[in-house]
Symmetry: C2
Subunit: 417 residues, 2 copies
Amino acid sequence: MNAEIIAVGSEMLTPERVDTNSLYLTAELNKLGVEVVAKSVIGDDRDRLADAVAHALRRSPVLILSGGLGPTEDDVTREAVAQALDRKLVFDSEIAAALERRFAQFKRKMAENNRRQAFVIEGADVLANERGTAPGQWLEESGSVMMLLPGPPYELRSVFERQCLPRLARIVPPLAIRTCEMRATGITESELDQLIAPVYKKYDNPATTILASDGTIQIHLRARCSTAADADRLLAEVAGPIQLLLGHRMYSTNGDSLEMVVGALLVKAHATLAVAESCTGGMLGERITSAAGSSRYFLGGFVTYQNAMKVELLAMSRETLERFGPVSAETAAAMAACAARRTGATYGVAITGVAGPDPVAAPDGQLLPAGAVYVGIAGPEGVRAVHRQFPGDRKRVRVFSTQLALDLLRRQLLGKP
Amino acid sequence: MNAEIIAVGSEMLTPERVDTNSLYLTAELNKLGVEVVAKSVIGDDRDRLADAVAHALRRSPVLILSGGLGPTEDDVTREAVAQALDRKLVFDSEIAAALERRFAQFKRKMAENNRRQAFVIEGADVLANERGTAPGQWLEESGSVMMLLPGPPYELRSVFERQCLPRLARIVPPLAIRTCEMRATGITESELDQLIAPVYKKYDNPATTILASDGTIQIHLRARCSTAADADRLLAEVAGPIQLLLGHRMYSTNGDSLEMVVGALLVKAHATLAVAESCTGGMLGERITSAAGSSRYFLGGFVTYQNAMKVELLAMSRETLERFGPVSAETAAAMAACAARRTGATYGVAITGVAGPDPVAAPDGQLLPAGAVYVGIAGPEGVRAVHRQFPGDRKRVRVFSTQLALDLLRRQLLGKP
């Protein structure tokens, strides 16, 4: 079964805003086995919206509209749909009374324009909105169903979940949908695709989506079958070979973030962690502590942005720093070792590099280009440092540096450095 | 003049992806004075796309399609547009030769399916794509113009800028567009709107957009006039009163980030900065060092996630820590003072708080709820601490804490604490 989504509102036609309600709606529809085949954004223009509604209804049996149900003149969804279906708008005194009560409850007088929200398209079911003033509406028209939902995401989700999903479940043929989200790092998107395409390309079901961002590649599988057991079997048939092919580059098979995976490994090893950061300025610590419960293993860190701070805060050897320079394998290793020593942590991880935009000079006079990064790891297994040359701007270099640091620690904890 | 944008690709109908090309295209069209009145996403389905194209052409004089120009069977844009316009596809041997050359240059053999990219709709101008294999196409049909652009943003931007903008400029009536982006913090979106709505609501031109995220409120003004001087005059007429009303809550009138503004103030004061972070785990340092050139004023920082680290790394008094607890005004002030002292920085800024999700117990046995945060500032003017109770989840609490810390430092540097 196919669906279309229309988001209503001129603000989503500016260069700053996208419609995100449709992502939530798509996820929910997909779970029912309904595919979204088109979506659009229409401004606050009644005729253009009526035209879009009439056009969509000719093509798709499910149509969802979000937004444009507010109290102002700009809110044209009710009028536009009534026009498209050639139906009347009917004043619903129950809705009006509920609106009055809602305003009274917050000790505010209802403005006259709120009465606009009490108009219902002839033949529509009213969908109660417990989180706002604009109720939704459910309509059926020549074999298609149509939902009008409020625009604020907090309200839309509540109305859709409570009022629309049960109604949709009654008309959509039942289908079991199971998903699997794997995550890998230390490989580019095209390398990964080349490696696993021969596996997933053989299957239309499960559907495979590959997404890359910030050094992580996500592989989403979605299987649709008449029973959950069949869907699970299909998922395993595709996910199994992919996991084998990716080996230790795959860090999660359930959508967990890299920092959560590292945290769980540290807890399992009864180990603690400290960090020392130069070019990332605190981003590594920030990522590690973004996981709730990180106080179980994360002790603290040093942001040694200036060279003098590497000596003063970390107590690393001034001689090492001067001889090899701040961006070097030796300094990265020393920073990691000092971070562990100064805090008493099991592991110390350090990042030093050239975030850019400008290159910096090494002690031997050679220029280190933007993107040159060293990660040091110190632990019970010893101390080592890894070098990478990352492409991209300052932000990308910093994100990839922290990704590399977390991944090296993960592999160290797995015994697969 | 009105435009519509259609993004082609089934991947943008999944719950994970949005079309972002349209944001870039909208910004560029707006600069020419062209308004985007509708946009849509259509999957890789030739008939559905042909229908959408025919429908859009009946409504709008400018239509832009992005994506679906690749070499595979899934790439249906050329065929769909030819079908919608009832025109033939013509094989262009020049494009085919250029494709062959491109592959030879990278020492790869061209796969047969790449020849699909050499087909051009009858009557179309070919738009050279210097950054990829799929050229764009420019078409005119019964008074409307239509562009087919490659989907990858890096290619789309290049083709649009070099090939389409000059052609559009010739057919769009000239209009001067001037914009102004102001940024404020320390005020909620609704408070700000209540304050400045009486100013901007009087004007349709300039158009005003208000966006809130991560504790910053952006106010975008866009004026459209026949001359740049008129547009500038209109902008000043609206921006001036807004700036007066917001006073020191406005930190930027040119779109600069808070960390850039704080950095410029530190440079101007010949001052340096060090930080000490607990619940934010490095995010404050990360934000400060996200600005290129931050090594001019940022010395370094301490991530004292565990209490013991506050004493060991920062050398703050154990008595203060035990008496008032780690989340207290006294500890925040001591952390800030110690960060400055240990590094020799002019200013020390510290954050300590409960990021959540769980509350923590204070030494007096009272529970400190998630979101309770203290920011300390130490500098030539003395030491002080500020308390806030932030709503929201762990991530939001951490972002708002760093926003508050940066804003307090900004006000201190301005002499308006």
